[in-house]
């Protein structure tokens, strides 16, 4: 009863074998980039004049924040495709992206808070970026909660897709209103994410870590979509074949 559409790799059948090789490759790349990035950030990069050693947290905080926003945009993109084409696999990609997006948002919040304490004296200063990041976490959790609450997978696909699109449209509005709110209530106070004037090596380390996070995301999401395909398509004949053969 699986309907096969002949868009290459757009059907779970043809996509499935590809995911394993890709996931492995990106996983290895992520590990390599992370190793290089950590070496650059923790060992090569010099001590910062103003913030001492605590600034080294940015090598996780900033890439995590970037990924949290990037993943939401990609998730919304897949959601839009799934609504437009009524395609199951696109919806599964959105479903697979959400947990990793939420994870990076949580990492950004925790590391940002831990950076704030030594750098500016407080664990949580209600600055614009951290507050927006917190709201983004709520958006991710809301998406996942809605999916979870709906039993019928196709209704869950479509409803969460609408939610993701409503979220992505509102996200810039929320961000700018929080920035405005912040200037209103704190005046020209220090922005918690005003990075120290970057030595080139610091920027390089951040970029390498950003790539590591991106490759990690691809590896994890491809693996998760494998699991989702198996979970949702298990009544299809082809699946048990792959389940037997695949490790």
């Amino acid at each position: 009863m699986t309907s096969i559409n002949w868009f290459r790799y757009a059907s779970p059948v043809s996509f499935f074998p590809v995911t394993r090789r890709l996931a492995r490759g990106f996983g290895v790349a992520a590990a390599v980039f992370a190793a290089v990035g950590l070496w650059l950030g923790l060992i090569v990069a010099p001590t910062d004049a103003q913030q001492g050693e605590a600034y080294r947290i940015i090598f996780i905080h900033v890439p995590a924040a970037w990924m949290s926003m990037f993943i939401y945009a990609v998730m919304a993109g897949w959601a839009a495709v799934s609504l437009a084409l009524n395609a199951r696999l696109s919806a599964m990609m959105a479903q697979a992206l959400a947990p990793t997006g939420a994870l990076f948002t949580a990492i950004a919040l925790v590391t940002g808070s831990l950076w704030g304490r030594p750098a500016w004296g407080t664990y949580w200063a209600w600055d614009a970026r951290m507050t927006s990041e917190l709201i983004l976490l709520f958006l991710y959790l809301g998406y996942m909660a809605l999916r979870q609450a709906i039993d019928d997978p196709r209704r869950a696909d479509r409803a969460s897709a609408v939610l993701a699109l409503v979220g992505v449209v509102n996200l810039p509005i929320i961000y700018f209103s929080v920035v405005w709110w912040n200037t209103l209530h704190q005046g020209a106070s220090v922005s918690l994410t005003a990075a120290p004037t970057m030595a080139a090596i610091m920027l390089a380390a951040m970029l390498v870590m950003a790539f590591a996070a991106w490759f990690y995301t691809i590896a994890v999401v491809l693996t998760r979509v494998r699991a989702i395909i198996l979970e949702r398509e298990k009544r299809a004949a082809w699946v048990s074949e792959f389940a037997e053969a695949a490790r």
């Binding site: 959790l141 809605l146 609450a149 209704r155 509005i173 209103s177």
Partner: protein, 232 residues
């Protein structure tokens, strides 16, 4: 009949039809409407009980508290929007009717706002007294709520449609919708704050008006999509 005449009724008659219907239904259970206003009153009263009655602090807190309470009261009323129609099958009939669904939904949301957000906005200066809000500040509060609560109803309707028929839908609805309410809250409360500081709140009101316009255009369509998803 000329071949050029439209064979299905247009959008505005649809809005009017749904508005009349939902207002009639809502006014049958006046007690329910009263409960929502009471909720607003009680929530607002809780804050001074929690933080104390020092006048300067209450004046600083007032706008924010009144707006947050309005958000929560709005959330409380939302499940009512589609839930009873959904459970007795009339929502399906509505979706099948010849009127365009976004138009019908607009009418329903308008009726909903007239019975929840609008009375709340009108009532707010009385509650503002509890926080020492002066005349012009109370005016900014009412104007802001009149501009903002329709947006809350519109956005909330999308959430209500997405969570139709789900267990614990109310809590889930809150999680989904409250982040979207944040800009309205920020600018609504800031409008009162600006007025308190002696400045005109034109900028804040413009933002609220823009948000309302955008929601009026976008929300009914998103809502209609969500309703069809829930009905399939």
């Amino acid at each position: 009949m000329s071949a050029l005449e439209p064979t299905s009724p247009g959008a505005w008659p649809g809005v009017a039809w749904a508005l009349r219907r939902d207002l009639k239904l809502a006014l049958r259970s006046k007690a329910e409407l009263g409960v929502q206003l009471l909720f607003y009153l009680i929530v607002v009263t809780l804050f001074p009980l929690g933080v104390g009655v020092e006048p300067t602090m209450l004046r600083a807190l007032g706008p924010g508290v009144l707006w947050v309470a309005a958000l929560l009261a709005s959330l409380l009323a939302l499940p009512r929007l589609f839930a009873s129609d959904f459970s007795d099958g009339s929502l399906e009939q509505i979706a099948l009717s010849p009127y365009p669904l976004p138009a019908l939904i607009s009418g329903q949301i308008l009726a909903h706002w007239l019975t929840t957000g609008a009375p709340l906005a009108v009532l707010s200066p009385l509650l503002g007294l509890q926080f020492g809000l002066e005349g012009h500040e109370a005016g900014a509060l009412v104007a802001g709520l009149l501009l903002g609560t329709p947006t809350l109803s519109l956005l909330g309707a999308v959430g209500a449609a997405l969570t139709l028929g789900l267990a614990r839908g109310g809590a889930l609805l809150a999680l989904l919708i409250l982040p979207l309410y944040v800009p309205i809250l920020i600018f609504g409360a800031a409008a009162v704050g600006a007025t308190h500081a002696g400045m005109a709140a034109a900028g804040e009101f413009s933002v609220l008006a823009a948000a309302l316009l955008a929601s009026v255009v976008g929300a009914p369509i998103a809502c209609a999509t969500a309703v069809r998803i829930a009905l399939d």
